[in-house]
């Protein structure tokens, strides 16, 4: 892999972000709206409920972590869409750029984007609702690691959809996190789900993060091997997502879709 080419891909995203206020605000807007909405809901539940559950750390922490995953995914998929919108595939894929460098550049953009969003979310939840994400202790690093890897995986899957089905597949990409959220128990324990949903949930790495977060907040701690299993699972999904993208890219090379992306299909 060539560092300069990876930097070129990252730099392009940086230029885009720097030169356009809506793009910059987009990183914070929905996450902030989400935090406000869930922040007040959890505050209300804490004040009016008698369940003894600590709603603010359980729900607000989960929403913050879920938004982090969404930002990582969008860091990848939005970067790819930028090339789609500006009809730049021919320029990039006709250059010496390799697929691994292209994706690594996007991962760097994803790191920058999600780090920015995370800092803002942490500040906001702390100042507005008195919730500190550091309540999760040292497990937080693993939580973020798992969500980061899975976010990249979802971003690459989104790229596969876009490259395979063309620009119209954008509507499929945006709700990917929403499709997954019911299965991973963002807001509730997996055990509340029907058996078939639980089974799916156990195959999804974020489940281990949210189960772990709830367990820590309820004072039960969390099994490190279980969390490491979730991390291992994340690496496996990332590997397969990358392989899938390579396959989709090869097919696009055969069909000519890279050069004629707006045609959506060449078959």
């Amino acid at each position: 892999m060539n560092i300069r080419r990876i930097y070129a891909i990252f730099l392009r995203q940086l230029y885009l972000l720097r030169g356009n206020i809506p793009r910059f605000l987009q990183i914070f807007t929905w996450t902030t709206v989400d935090i406000i909405l869930w922040g007040f809901l959890t505050k209300y539940l804490s004040q009016s409920g008698g369940s003894g559950l600590r709603f603010i750390p359980i729900l607000l922490g989960a929403v913050l972590l879920w938004n982090f995953l969404g930002q990582v995914m969008q860091g990848i998929s939005m970067s790819f869409m930028e090339d789609s919108w500006s009809r730049n595939f021919l320029n990039f894929f006709g250059s010496p750029l390799e697929i691994s460098e292209y994706i690594t550049g996007f991962v760097l953009a994803g790191i920058a984007r999600s780090a920015l969003a995370l800092i803002v979310m942490i500040l906001f939840t702390t100042l507005a609702f008195g919730f500190s994400i550091f309540i999760y202790g040292s497990s937080l690093a693993l939580f973020l690691g798992i969500l980061f890897l899975f976010g990249i995986t979802l971003g690459i899957v989104a790229m596969c959809l876009l490259l395979r089905f063309g620009p119209s597949a954008e509507w499929l990409v945006w709700p990917i996190p929403a499709f997954i959220s019911p299965f991973v128990g963002v807001l509730y324990p997996l055990e509340i789900l029907p058996h078939w949903m639980q089974t799916i949930g156990h195959f999804l790495p974020p489940s281990y993060v949210f189960e772990g977060a709830r367990s820590i907040i309820s004072g039960n701690g969390f099994s490190m091997p279980t969390l490491l299993f979730g991390m291992g699972l994340s690496f496996i999904y990332l590997f397969f997502a990358y392989q899938l993208f390579k396959r989709v890219y090869r097919k696009a090379l055969r069909t000519g879709l890279i050069a004629r992306y707006s045609a959506e299909t060449m078959t």
């Binding site: 300069r4 080419r5 070129a8 500006s86 730049n88 021919l90 250059s95 055969r254 050069a259 078959t267």
Partner: protein, 248 residues
């Protein structure tokens, strides 16, 4: 280093039942400007896409400086660059930003100086910090050409490079490209529908029709060899009645 910059060996591209390019073979030598001509749909852009490695041939081999594009795409393509009317650089970045990004992608040494030189050469200095999307089509074409020259490519691919330029600018660009070929070690593969331009610029031409090479030769002498007054007349004959020409 091989003597030919570009070599196509029986390159074929088939889409389902449609044969877009059929067993096309040719070479491009150093300092040569080779014109790839043909009517719309003849297979010119398909051929260029295959050379760039963005389209996989169904059969045959493409070698750039002896390097197989399909086996070692990045290495082979690092010796090329291209400008095409349908592949303008992103409009949401400035001229300087685009040149920096493509300079990094093509591994250009002393990039800052190179960008400065190209901005001056293509009269783009005043647009340095202007977003490419707000430039006129002629100015955008000049940016694309500056991008194509960034790495002093061994193989320069130009797909209708002067299509949106006014006659004066087009003449300047033609002069620059001729100088580039004459003074360097690289070669140029040029497609154009402007037959006067082709006759002026190209050392050799290939006529492509229905994905096959029908004719090859010197653009100045080829029309007479086929009983035509000029290249445009020859082009029209090939475009409308390729079979009659094949019979000659």
């Amino acid at each position: 280093m091989t003597s030919s910059i570009l070599e196509l060996r029986k390159v074929t591209k088939v889409y389902g039942e449609t044969v877009a390019v059929s067993e096309v073979s040719f070479t491009l030598r150093p300092k040569e400007i080779l014109g790839l001509l043909g009517p719309n749909g003849a297979g010119k852009t398909t051929t260029i896409d295959m050379i760039l490695g963005v389209l996989e041939p169904t059969g045959g081999e493409i070698l750039i400086d002896g390097i197989d594009v399909m086996k070692n795409r990045s290495e082979a393509v690092s010796r090329t660059n291209f400008a095409a009317v349908y592949a303008q650089v992103p409009g949401n970045l400035t001229v300087a930003q685009n040149l920096k990004i493509f300079g990094l992608l093509y591994g250009v040494p002393n990039l800052k100086k190179r960008i400065g030189d190209l901005l001056a050469e293509f009269d783009l200095e005043r647009f340095k910090d202007t977003k490419c999307g707000v430039l006129s089509s002629g100015e955008q074409t000049r940016v694309s050409l500056a991008k194509a020259m960034l790495n002093n490519p061994r193989l320069l691919l130009l797909d209708e490079p002067t299509a949106s330029l006014d006659p004066s600018t087009a003449q300047i660009i033609r002069k620059k490209i001729k100088e580039y070929a004459a003074n360097g070690t690289g070669g140029v593969l040029w497609t154009s529908h402007n037959m006067h331009e082709v006759a002026e610029v190209c050392d050799r031409i290939l006529f492509l029709s229905h994905g096959k090479i029908l004719l090859e030769g010197n653009p100045k002498t080829l029309p007479r060899e086929y009983g035509k007054a000029n290249l445009e007349e020859l082009f029209i004959t090939i475009a409308r009645e390729p079979l009659t020409l094949e019979a000659i």
